[in-house]
Amino acid sequence: MRTVHVQKIVDEVARLCQEACYDLPPDVLKAIEAASSSEKSPLGQGILAKLVENAYLASRERVPCCHDTGIAAVFLEIGQDVHLTGGSLHEAVQEGVRRGYREGCLRKSVVGDPLLRVNTGDNTPAVVHTEIVDGDRITLSVLPKGGGSENMSALSFLLPGEGAGGVKKFVLDTVKNAGGKACPPLVVGVGIGGTFDYVALLAKKALLRRIGTYNKQPHLARLEMELLELINKTGIGPLGLGGSNTALWVAVESFGAHITALPVAVNLQCHAARRKLCTI
């Protein structure tokens, strides 16, 4: 049994929130740079070049690359041999977010109640997902999720008979419907299978995967490649102003499903595809 004090969680969450918002992950930056050299639209090339410049500037000056520093999605994979001491884990995560957003001068973009809509002023509550895994380590991932792309995400129950073709159509329709609103080029997270709640989580988890890493299952890796190619033929382009780079990457995660069901969730992620993880 390994003991971890919850203060460590507070400190790490606070750090990850800030670093995620300042430093675009290297794989994402590389993908935007590649898009900038392959882009066919001159307007699009100019935009992508500015996004690269923006990312370097933000990182150098330790400021948020995008002003929408999002609602924080926090993923905790906790080894079953870890014993947490010193207080509540849940409160530690929220405190980490509170501190990270305050100290990092990140924008507070969360309302406490979705209907009353009063800003909480500290970016809590964060959405927290915990999972118990093997071992004695904790993996912490922070994904600050901006509203522009999250708002254009979608979920549907297809007929099992619609198969991969139906999934492709639904993903494409979602991307087309989002157009320039979601700040393309996108990272497209796709969840297939599971239940109503779980399929959405799969789609969000897909966004944690590094660009360039395909799904381990060959048929899903093929689906990822085909989807990326299709999405880049829509012509939506950088910021939706037309062009050949609409998505940087597509990641698919799947799970078993009921014999009657083919749930699909598409979680769109803008080019500010921020995420940062650490292991404790």
């Binding site: 507070k108 509203g147 609103k181 829509t234």
Partner: protein, 184 residues
């Protein structure tokens, strides 16, 4: 596609030169307003009351900046998705606002209102917020301070990079641009 250097407030002669897809470098004061500020402004317009700031001839920037770090004029400040303001925009243009800055396509009625009231919708570079904040030389809250990031700020910008999305001739870069590169 042309590049225009313009100074706010925009004159009719400036607006007539702009065509969808043109690039613009904007200098001068612009005003931030988002959902909550729009709601208040519209209520005043409906009651035929005066607005807390005279926005006739001005450009509205849909943006909610980050808090500034010590030494910064403004925190990162990029455009937010424009369609959330579509409900309010025709009335704002009728009142006399000459330009709006945001990101993403909008309702047809906004494109039509741009033609009718001779105003433009300018697309900002969504997500380039650190870079865009550098073009802001001065920032002051001029109304609705209680709204925090959503308060109305007056920003003095210098060479703020934009793309003409909707012009006064009915042009729309979103449909034109996508049409050009669409392969499926």
């Amino acid at each position: 596609m042309a590049t225009h250097r313009l100074i706010t407030p925009l004159l009719d002669a400036d607006i007539e030169k702009l065509h969808s897809g043109d690039e613009v470098l904007l200098t001068g004061p612009i005003y931030t307003a988002r959902d909550a500020a729009h709601k208040r402004l519209l209520e005043l317009l409906e009651k035929k009351r005066e607005l807390p700031v005279d926005l006739r001839g001005q450009v509205i920037y849909y943006s909610g900046p980050c808090p500034p770090k010590p030494g910064q004029v403004i925190g990162s400040a990029g455009p937010t998705t424009a369609y959330r303001m579509d409900l309010f925009t025709p009335a704002m243009l009728e009142y006399g606002v000459k330009g709006t800055i945001g990101k993403g396509p909008r309702l047809e009625k906004v494109r039509e209102a741009c033609v009718r009231y001779r105003a433009v919708y300018l697309a900002g570079i969504g997500g380039a917020s650190a870079l865009l904040a550098k073009t802001v030389k001065k920032a002051d809250i001029v109304a609705y301070e209680d709204l925090g990031t959503e308060a109305v700020h007056r920003l003095e910008v210098e060479d703020f990079p934009l793309i003409v999305a909707y012009d006064i001739y009915g042009g729309d870069i979103y449909s034109e641009g996508i049409g050009k590169y669409k392969e499926i």
